[in-house]
Structure formats: structure tokens, C-alpha cells
Symmetry: C2
Subunit: 326 residues, 2 copies
């Protein structure tokens, strides 16, 4: 059948939530043309397809940093002729953009397998009293001159900080990065996975929403860490394994020092100790390790951190860092 | 429960696919700010919510003309610093953007009802040999000077036509508007509706894809008529009723002439005759009536065309044009 329906067939494989790093869609040295992005997505999806062919049952989540950054620049550049959309809407746009590319590539690479592939636009609940709303620090979008920065602060109420020196545009908007609490569409995602579909969800960490005083959901301009949101998604779909695919083969102690050491197996209490000792930088390996600790301490079987091209090998125990409970 | 799961409960109401016109998201006189769009979406969703409360089982589809047009302008304006994304990707972005707004508004307005609301990123299959690919005529994006037009024709291979006179920018890109053949994610949408979810799908007429020589899906720069795609979606989910909500109360004969007449009930063979006589302009009421004819001739119970604020009244037979089979 051209577009197969496997709905109703229960899948019995291990359930894996795969969190794709930014390099799965745009390499650091690239500009971000559609040709580059489609090629990168095909490469990432070849790895995911090899995992699916081994019988794993998967949910895919992904970052959106470069894509949402480009959209933010486009909003600014065209603001005199087109009303700029806020960050929360740009995040929703990137879920459509990236979800479409992944969904099509996976369908093409797996069409013999009778799998439905689907992207769910996903809202992620955060606490409107999350302390990050009072002290935002996640930089997004273009850089500004002091004059531009002052204008945006006055007009839009943005928080803008000086994020670099020695440059005529040292200012940049910072937004909160609140903790994800719940995946609003989590039950639908779980249900579709229960029935054997491959689901792409919570892209870019999800569209951040708060519950207002009336109990209504409202979008907020914030950026949720995609690995932390991926972990909440993994709990929501009752995943066995949380697999973070990034740009390094495994987590390291004493990174960049003479006594640098690969960590291959890591109990969560040790991971927590290393985290406290500052081995894993915030904004990079830190939130990934935190998300893995949380996953295994909330009942997940194991969490794995490895590079994009080694996902299947890592699931088979050959490479990567495997984090297990206490 | 905060985010209720009604999965597993079979719904027995009549199934309605609702096609929202452009005015549901942006009014013609508006610029398209996020505040305007959220307010319009809330109004449209109040109407949809009243339909859901009467026990109808619904799927929502929507246009994306102004939104995709704004994104196309932004691509052009920023092309020196950000790689422009092609039309097919912009379409995927608008599904995320508009789907998110509708999904959130419906959830807020219906949260007592234990309904899941979800947006599915939707690809719509078209024939790569559709005659429209050889003779594109659907205008999209910004207007150009002759010089700009010539440059884009040379650089991108676009088809650009002179679409107005007496203006320094009379040129505009035209793209094919092929016939929709199938909803790639149709079975997933039907399944979710079977289980009582409200699904938003095939926004902007869907992301147009063709099957290439290898059997792979590939996106193409084209615009599928959203009412025609909505009709194919209505068939895919086995809808009873196809409801087009637009900016007029009902379809008219001799529009704008002294003998103008409201059509309240219309058999499909008569609709076809009026269509041939030129009563329904192409690009406006024409494709809507065509889509309705097709729906009832393919087994649908009835199709209705009415204005956005009269959806429920029209379902109750009080207003609107009802089209039924032969």
C-alpha cells in the first residue's frame, strides 16, 4: 500500500525517545540552506531508520536553535513591511518545518516497513512562576547596537543583555529557559506510539505555554531546553530508553585536560556528583546529563549519550555513555 | 485531569470536516500581527467549539495565504544574511504556526469536554505530471520590478508573470496549483478522529509532494487549493459533512446583478451546470463548489458553504447553501 496503515498492531519492541542535536539538521559551518538541511536530515534519518529496523519503537525530538534564530533575524529585517511574529510563534513554525523534513525522510527510508510517521505540534507546560522568568539568560535572535537595544527594550519590553565585547553589535535578547513540567499532547503521542507509529514531537523543546489565571493555556516567549523537554516526553510515552544524539561519542571527565577520560557506564548518583564538581558545562553537556539522571531516577531503564552516527551501536552497548539508576 | 485522555472512547456523532477560510485567521484590512491573528482564531474557534458541543465529531483544515505570503516576503528581504527557504518549507512552517494557534484556542474553549486537540503536519500527494506544472498561474509572495524578476528567473528558474499594470513592481512569481490526490497522513488523522480527538490537518491545502522515480516523496513549490485538499481529507476520514466556512452566507446565482439570487439547496448536477455557466468565479467560489460536488458525488451526505459565524446554524439547516448528491 502506498500509505500503509499499521494502526491496531501492537508493537512489542523497546521504546526509545531519540533527542537529535542541532547537528542533525544544520552543521555549524553551514549557512542553513534547504539543500544542506535536507541532506543532514537524510543522514540523521538513516541512523534512526537503522534503529527502527532492529525493532525499536521510537519517538523523535529535535532542536531548532539555528532555524528559530534565522526566523528571528527575518522578522527584524522585514519589520517595516511585515508584522514580526513573536518567538513562541517562530517556535511553532520550526516544528512544522523540521517535523516535515524528518517525517518525509523517515517515510522514504522506511517505506517497506509499514510504519506511519507523523509530526505532532507540541505545547510544553512551564510554571509561570518559574524563577527563570525573573532572570532570563538564554540568548536568541540577532545582535543589536546599543541604540537598537534601547529601542527594543522600550517598545517590546524585551530583556536585552550585552553578550560580547569589542563589537559594534554586542547586545542580544535573552529569554527565560524554564523547566518543562508536562507535554500537553503527551497522551496522543503515547497512543500513536502504542499503535506502532513513529512520532516526531516537542521539537525545539516544545512550544512553551503557561496556565493563566483562567486556566487557559497561553504561549510565552521562552526557550525550553530540548533535552529536558525530551526527557519529560520520554516519561509521558513510558519510554524504556532515552537516547541523546549529539556531537561527541561519549561523556568525558576532565574535558580538554591531560587526564581527560571517557565515561562509558555511569550510575545516576555518580553522574550527579560529577555534575556538582563542574565536569559538565551548563548549556552544553550539563542539561543532557541532568535530563538522563532524571529519566533513570523516574523509572527509565537507561539513558544514553552518544554521537549522531553511533545511535544504533550505542543501543547495542558498543559505544557511548550509558546512564542507569542509582 | 489537566490534559484529559479520551482515547479509546468511540464517538458516534456526525463527522464534519470544517474548512476555514482566510478570514478565520486574518481579516483583509488587517496587517497580520499576532494579536490580530490570535483574536480571529479565538472567534473562529468559538464557532467550532459550539459545533463540537452539539456532538459533532470534527476535523479542521485552514488556509494560509497571508501567512505564507508574509514568510515569502521575509525570505526575500533577508536573503543576503539568511538562506531563503523554499515555498514548500514555508507551507510546513505555516501548518505549525496556524495549527498551534487553533489547537490552543480550541483546547482552551473546550477544556470541560475531555477532548484531545492535535495538529498533524500533513503532506498532500499531487501528480508530478499534473498539467499545472507546465502552466503555473497561482501568484505567491512579493511583487518585483522587471530587473528583479529577470534575475530570479535566471537564478532560481521561477516562473514570473506580469500580474498588474501601472506599477513599478508589476511582476510576481506564479506557481502550479495541482489537484490533490491523497492525504499522506490521512489514516492517522482518521484514526485519531475515530477515537474522539479533534484534529487540525492539511493546513494551507497541505504540503505538496510528488512521488519521484524511486518512489520517494519530494516536496514541490506549489499551492494546493485548500478547499479541494479539504475535500480529499473529508473522504480520507469518511466524513458525513464537508463544511466550508468563508465570507458569504450562501452561494449566489448572478452575483452582483439585479437578479442575484441566494442558493439554499443545490443538487450536485445543478451545481455542475451553474459552474459551467460561469456563475462561480475561478479562484473564489468556483473551487469551493467543485470541492462540494466532488464530496457528495463520492458518497458524502452533504456539503455546506456558509460564513464563518454561521457554521452551527448552517449545520442545523437554518442558513447557508447545502449541496447534496445528484
Amino acid at each position: 500500500m502506498l500509505f500503509p496503515s499499521n494502526l491496531g498492531v501492537l508493537v512489542m519492541g523497546k521504546r526509545v525517545v531519540i533527542a537529535l542535536g542541532g547537528n542533525a539538521i544544520k552543521q555549524p559551518e553551514e549557512e542553513g540552506t534547504v539543500e544542506e538541511q535536507l541532506r543532514n536530515v537524510d543522514t540523521a534519518c538513516a541512523q534512526i531508520a537503522s534503529i527502527v529496523r532492529k525493532g525499536y519503537d521510537i519517538v523523535v525530538t529535535h532542536g531548532n536553535g539555528p532555524q528559530v534564530g534565522n526566523l528571528a533575524i527575518q522578522q527584524e529585517q522585514s519589520k517595516e513591511i511585515v508584522p514580526p511574529q513573536p518567538l513562541v510563534i517562530l517556535g511553532a513554525m520550526t516544528q512544522g518545518q523540521i517535523g516535515y523534513m524528518i517525517q518525509q525522510s523517515l517515510r522514504n527510508q522506511l517505506r517497506g516497513l509499514n510504519k506511519n510517521v507523523v509530526t505532532i505540534i507540541t505545547q510544553v507546560l512551564v510554571d509561570k512562576n518559574d524563577p527563570d522568568f525573573l532572570d532570563p539568560h538564554k540568548p536568541v535572535g540577532p545582535f543589536y547596537t546599543e541604540e537598537e537595544a534601547e529601542k527594543l527594550i522600550a517598545e517590546k519590553g524585551w530583556t536585552i543583555r550585552k553578550v560580547r565585547n569589542h563589537d559594534e553589535r554586542p547586545w542580544r535578547r535573552v529569554v527565560p529557559s524554564p523547566e518543562p513540567l508536562d507535554i500537553v499532547e503527551g497522551k496522543i503521542v503515547k497512543h500513536l506510539v502504542d499503535l506502532g507509529s513513529i512520532v516526531i514531537a516537542s521539537g525545539g523543546g516544545g512550544i512553551p505555554v503557561v496556565l493563566d489565571e483562567n486556566g487557559d493555556l497561553r504561549g510565552v516567549d521562552a526557550v525550553i531546553d530540548k533535552d529536558k523537554a525530551g526527557e519529560v516526553l520520554a516519561e509521558a510515552v513510558e519510554a524504556d530508553i532515552f537516547l541523546i544524539l549529539t556531537d561527541v561519542d561519549c561523556v568525558k571527565l576532565n574535558l580538554g585536560k591531560p587526564d581527560e577520560k571517557n565515561l562509558r557506564e555511569l550510575r545516576s548518583f555518580m553522574a550527579r556528583a560529577y555534575l556538582k564538581e563542574g565536569h559538565f558545562p551548563p548549556g552544553s553537556m550539563g542539561p543532557k546529563v541532568e535530563a538522563c539522571i532524571r529519566f533513570v531516577e523516574h523509572g527509565g531503564e537507561k539513558a544514553i549519550i552518544t554521537s549522531l552516527d553511533k545511535g544504533l551501536e550505542a543501543l547495542e552497548g558498543k559505544v557511548g555513555t550509558v546512564i542507569t539508576g542509582s
